[in-house]
Subunit: 159 residues, 2 copies
């Protein structure tokens, strides 16, 4: 399988995590951590459910991967996430020494891996991750748009 | 009590959290979250103990404050932390909408609230925190230096 299809395969699994968030009325973002061709961590956004601003998909996936490894260092790991990481998650990627970040849709306003800043790959920090964006970006964007459409309909009481 | 003494009083409590980290062989950084003159969250660095790169003092204090409030929004809260926040923690401060950050020692290399970047107060993000650095900075620096001195002695087997 070529690298493009491999990435699509993993992103589909991260996308399933995003679908779990959708089902819980959370902004639908999902993430997995892959090491040696195996998923070692996964997570979906649970900010509202856990009432915790730090409970982003990437954070939960990183904590879960570290737990499965019994080591906070995720040097040889790749993080797949359906949306470009925010400031906090970009920092968690640097801190956990993740080797590569592959994300779905770009966040033009607040994305900190490529759009607003390139913090995951910045030489200013002691660890850097390679970053690839735009994998399955249409699906990853559509599920977020659908979520916010439903939220607006609920709020306004009309479609 | 004037504002300077008030800040010192709260920082002393954050410093006690740092001492807890020291006792656990963790880089000694502590944090508290204060709302309406009351501590609603606290935490100390537990990266090694929990084997989790996201387990910084600020993250634990923010999660604990949100839990005590049953709300991830910490709009009216002040975070006291003994060291300038890193990239990840600066992002968590923005995401949790904390109003003010008061920190001890500056982190000239990687601090993201004042030194390397001013991300907590950046107009690029939807929420901004006021930032004050240098409160109890000597003590906050000394405990970290002492920690690393002990680590070196342990490693080298000599003083």
């Amino acid at each position: 399988m070529d690298i493009k299809n491999k990435r699509l395969q993993w992103m589909r699994i991260a996308f399933r995590e995003a679908e779990k968030a959708f089902e819980c009325d959370e902004v639908p973002i999902g993430a997995i951590v892959v090491k040696n061709n195996k998923i070692i961590g996964r997570g979906y956004n649970q900010t509202e459910t856990l009432k915790d601003a730090t409970a982003h998909a990437e954070m939960i996936a990183i904590t879960s991967a570290a737990s499965s490894q019994d080591d906070w260092r995720l040097d040889d790991c790749t993080l797949y996430v359906t949306k470009e990481p925010c400031l906090m998650c970009a920092g968690a990627i640097v801190n956990s020494r993740i080797k590569m970040v592959i994300f779905g849709v770009y966040d033009k306003n607040y994305g900190c891996a490529a759009s607003l800043y390139q913090l995951c790959s910045s030489p200013k920090f002691p660890h850097r991750a390679a970053v690839v964006g735009g994998v399955m970006q249409n699906e990853c964007l559509q599920i977020i748009q659908e979520f916010f459409h439903i939220q607006r309909v609920k709020k306004d009481g009309k479609n």
